[in-house]
């Protein structure tokens, strides 16, 4: 595989299509030699990023698409999930299960936390419209940690 090869995907802003991005990402990661465990982590992170792009970024507007750019290099797979919204600046916060169980915290609000917990790098970028994205990285050398 050439260093820097990249695959681009455009998805409709419709819930369910995150599963297409999961399959595409899993297939790239499998070709790169990632283990099944890491591929499962990546799939969940990519799904959550796409769901956020569809729901929050593009607000389910069927005229907008979600971009997914998967770039390989020798030791890492980078995935950018791009939407047309204003982006997020707030850092993900860990869910507080006790507060959720007492109704003091929305039962939702776990997506960004899971993304950050499951991949090696996760960064959210606020951009001009059509340029907000989250950038995820999984590294081959982190396989055995």
């Amino acid at each position: 595989m050439r260093n820097g090869s990249s695959v681009q995907v455009r998805l409709p802003s419709e819930l369910g299509f995150e599963k297409v991005a999961m399959s595409t990402a899993a297939s790239m990661a499998s070709l790169m030699g990632f283990t099944e465990d890491r591929i499962e982590d990546l799939k969940t992170a990519v799904a959550e990023a796409c769901i956020n792009a569809i729901e929050h970024g593009n607000q389910m507007n069927s005229g907008l698409t979600v971009g997914v750019v998967l770039s390989t290099s020798e030791d890492r797979l980078e995935v950018k999930v791009i939407d047309d919204g204003a982006g997020v600046r707030a850092a993900p916060h860990a869910p507080d299960i006790d507060r959720k169980m007492h109704g003091d915290e929305d039962p939702r609000g776990m997506g960004m936390f899971l993304i950050q917990a499951l991949v090696d790098e996760a960064e959210w970028y606020k951009g001009p419209p059509g340029k907000s994205f989250v950038r995820l990285v999984i590294r081959l050398d982190k396989e055995n940690e």
Partner: protein, 119 residues
């Protein structure tokens, strides 16, 4: 493009002799699953004091689906009388459920036999 959630209900007898209500999920557990999942839970006999959630047949779960499971646990906690257990999750989703803390409020088991032995 979201796939339907399937829920079937059955009962089983635990090692302890207790009767256990099992809600077996199939398909997707996502934001579209609220009515299916909570509806099935509300349909359980109120006397059911032991409930197991069977995820064996689930193809896909996302964080909105996990939020619905938390909401069910919250309702069970309010009722105060129900012990809820979980089985049939892949190793990956056992990890994810643990990351968000669900294991504090629902015992997680590998499979049905282990779950029934523990009730």
């Amino acid at each position: 493009m979201q796939t339907a959630t399937r829920v079937t209900q059955r009962t089983a007898t635990a090692a302890s002799g207790n009767t256990v209500s099992i809600l077996a999920f199939g398909g997707d557990i996502s934001s579209a699953s609220k009515d299916a999942v909570l509806g099935a839970y509300h349909g359980l006999n109120e006397a059911a004091s032991h409930v197991l959630l069977d995820f064996t047949g689930v193809d896909y779960i996302n964080s909105s689906g996990i939020a619905i499971v938390i909401q069910m646990l919250l309702e069970a906690g309010k009722a105060g009388t129900q012990a809820i257990g979980i089985f049939g999750l892949s190793a990956h989703f056992q990890k994810v459920f643990t990351m968000v803390g669900i294991n504090k409020y629902a015992a997680m088991h590998k499979d049905e036999a282990t779950a029934l032995a523990a009730v």
